[in-house]
């Protein structure tokens, strides 16, 4: 657990350092995540202990949104004044984006010539089964 904490905080710190030092408009935590991803790829090893311990943190991800989320109470007048604009943006915007995104990737997937080596027969039959039960 200790090693996991040191690793995660180190990359979080590096991300914040990069963001501050290079003055780039990208969140420090996101930079930290990218650096950490680069480290994992370079290392290219299934570090079970690290993955499991970090998994505990991710399992309770919603907990960490609460302090920021409760800040909603600061803006009741915005929600009241612009309720319709917000609702249209979130409901219509989301449904249209979901439809467009799903349609686009399905077109791309269907157009693609299946590479002979990439998919094993098992994964093919698996996706076939999924299509049957949900299509």
């Amino acid at each position: 657990m200790l090693r996991t904490l040191v690793t995660l905080f180190l990359f979080q710190f590096l991300g914040e350092l990069f963001q501050r030092g290079l003055d780039i408009p990208v969140p420090g935590a996101v930079l930290g995540m990218l650096l950490f991803l680069g480290y994992l790829m370079l290392r290219n090893k299934a570090d079970t202990e690290l993955f499991e311990n970090a998994g505990l943190l991710l399992k309770h991800l919603p907990l960490f949104f609460i302090p920021a989320g409760a800040g909603l109470m600061l803006y009741p007048e915005i929600l009241l004044e612009h309720g319709l604009a917000i609702l249209a943006s979130l409901v219509l915007g989301t449904l249209i984006a979901l439809a467009a995104s799903a349609k686009l990737i399905q077109l791309l997937l269907n157009r693609r010539v299946e590479p002979a080596t990439a998919s094993s027969p098992q994964s093919l039959s698996e996706s076939g089964k999924d299509e049957e039960s949900h299509g």
């Binding site: 930290g32 995540m33 949104f65 249209a88 686009l104």
Partner: protein
């Protein structure tokens, strides 16, 4: 109650208890998209602060450790992304094209509808990161000058809309490919969409988790830069 807040443990304990209550209710409701733990948690915190007449800032300072850990958990999101790298390699072309399109389209539609109905600039900035997972959205909103708390709420609401709307949309548009279902749910509905995708099938869920990560990274890289250049 307000005099307990200088104790830094009070805000932490309050947040943990609100989360535990939220988790309990979520399980009791059989994982309803409308009763995510964060919704109950945030509501309970706001209720307690309002009833006890505690300023939000006082609470936030007292619970700042938990907010710091949000960044730590964001860093940890590299792990599921790393574990899904093989799937990215096998499908990189359709994934990349869809990602480039969806990242811009999701933000653009969100901003467009609100702008047409008269939202001001700061609200538009808070709406733009609505399709990316909450830790990224809070960070992006902070950096582009939106209201981070509003963005967090918008993100969660977006996820619920995507989770509830997925089935009708997939049926209407004949979206039958599990990779297409998973990818679009993850890109537009982030974590809540991903939970929905795992109910469809494990393959659908895996692609959704992967897409959520890609969308979060992509949007938090391009959106602040784009706005930086436009200003």
């Amino acid at each position: 109650m307000a005099e307990l807040l200088p104790l830094s443990t009070f805000g932490i304990l309050l947040t943990l208890l609100a989360y535990v209550a939220g988790l309990w209710l979520y399980r009791r409701s059989n994982y309803s998209a409308f009763l995510q733990p964060v919704i109950t948690g945030v509501t309970l915190i706001m209720l307690v602060l309002w009833l006890a007449d505690i300023p939000y800032e006082t609470y936030f300072e007292s619970a700042s450790v938990i907010h710091t850990l949000l960044g730590t958990a964001t860093v940890a999101l590299a792990i599921p992304l790393y574990q899904h790298l093989q799937k990215i390699r096998e499908n990189w072309r359709p994934l990349l094209v869809t990602l480039l399109f969806s990242g811009i389209f999701a933000a653009a539609t969100a901003v467009l509808f609100a702008w047409l109905l008269g939202a001001d600039e700061k609200l538009l900035l808070s709406l733009a990161p609505k399709s990316i997972t909450t830790p990224f959205a809070i960070a992006v909103s902070e950096i582009i000058g939106g209201y981070p708390a509003l963005s967090a709420a918008f993100v969660i609401f977006t996820g619920m809309v995507a989770a509830v709307g997925a089935n009708p949309i997939f049926r209407l548009l004949k979206i039958t490919h599990p990779i297409a279902q998973g990818t679009s749910l993850g890109m537009i509905g982030h974590g809540i969409g991903t939970a929905r995708a795992f109910e469809i099938s494990p393959q659908c869920g895996a692609f959704s988790a992967l897409s959520m990560g890609l969308m979060g990274v992509y949007t938090s890289l391009y959106l602040p830069w784009l706005l930086h250049l436009l200003r």
